[in-house]
């Protein structure tokens, strides 16, 4: 599947805006820094790290000339899947990112606590994705 195939279904075409993309990258960096504040609860650390992952995926998607249709359900999943086509992440990484998405869904709706292992993983993935996205954008 290509990103073009998804146009109209879950994506729409846009003209890339370097300022908007940079704004997303800056926000992701701030969120990663916040995720490392150990005074915060696990839930909030997890949430901001996850937010950074979404912002990075979105930045890469916009740099490729697309954005998700927020009117359609499942745009977080689309955003994660798009990373395979934009930054070029491996399937293994996508599987982990998608599992983090589900953890967030469950925690949001059930009010369950988020365990340490999921928090550690989410922050690690956000940091690695930041580096991957920055390197990929340089070559665009």
């Amino acid at each position: 599947m290509t990103l073009d195939n998804l146009t109209g279904k879950s994506l729409e075409k846009i003209e890339p805006d370097p300022i908007a993309i940079q704004r997303l990258l800056d926000a992701a960096e701030r969120n990663i820094a916040d995720a490392e504040l150990i005074e915060l609860s696990n839930e909030n650390r997890f949430d901001v790290a996850y937010k950074a992952i979404m912002q990075l995926a979105n930045a890469a998607l916009q740099a490729s000339g697309f954005r998700t249709l927020t009117s359609k359900p499942g745009h977080h999943q689309t955003m994660i899947q798009s990373l395979v086509k934009t930054v070029g992440i491996e399937t293994d990484r996508m599987i982990v990112l998608d599992a983090l998405r589900k953890q967030r869904n469950i925690a949001d709706y059930s009010g369950d606590l988020v365990e340490d292992a999921a928090v550690v993983e989410c922050i690690l993935q956000a940091k690695q994705l930041l580096a991957l996205t920055q390197a990929w954008l340089k070559n665009q």
Binding site: I95, V96, A99, K102, Q103, E115, D116, A117, E121
Partner: protein
């Protein structure tokens, strides 16, 4: 290694019961069952006929297709479904999937709707893992099992320390988890506390 389910039921019966009794809200036609259980339609057909004759399954004709479904009114439905839930299908698949990390696990069990037999066709598998392994590692070993089971698996992963702390704190989640049915995958019920 011979599993409990292998010993109790011969292959075709075990496969059919595991598929149909664990998804009682779903009916399947013979070829579909053959494909999902990796069995021969001919032999399978005989097995299905027998199971329907004694009332474990019910059959229905739709167009020119014969459909089979678990008959939840069968007097031993709950017991048989319980045996399949604990020994075959899901538990086996999860046990096998977790094999590479079993050494790092103190305890693993399914909780939620699948463990209590209230799962619908779309229910996720809620899996409690207590042990010292990484989240990514757990997700990766479980991923192929998701496809095999046709259900998403949601791991809830605690380190051993974190688990003991959570038990001591008795949050709403822990209280409910301990009160509801658990389906042990690694370790047994006594390992949980």
């Amino acid at each position: 290694m011979l599993s409990l389910a292998d010993l109790l039921f011969k292959e075709y019966r075990r496969q059919v019961l595991a598929l149909l009794l664990l998804r009682p809200d779903q009916s399947y036609h013979v070829r579909e069952i053959a494909r999902l259980t990796n069995t021969q339609p001919g032999t399978l057909h005989k097995e299905l006929t027998k199971l329907a004759e004694v009332g474990i399954l019910k059959k229905a004709v739709q167009g020119n297709q014969l459909y089979y479904q678990a008959d939840t009114n069968c007097i031993v439905f709950e017991e048989l479904a319980g045996i399949m839930r604990k020994t075959s299908g899901l538990a086996d698949v999860l046990r096998l999937a977790l094999q590479p990390v079993t050494g790092q696990l103190q305890f693993a069990a399914v909780y939620g709707s699948v463990a209590s037999g209230k799962a619908t066709a779309n229910s996720d598998v809620d899996l409690l893992l207590v042990g010292d392994l990484g989240f990514a590692e757990a997700v990766k070993v479980l991923y192929p099992a998701q496809q095999e089971l046709g259900r998403e698996i949601n791991p809830k992963l605690y380190s051993v320390n974190e688990w003991h702390k959570a038990l001591a704190e008795q949050s709403g989640f822990i209280r409910q988890l301990l009160a509801d049915p658990l389906l042990p995958i690694v370790g047994n019920k006594d390992d949980v506390r």
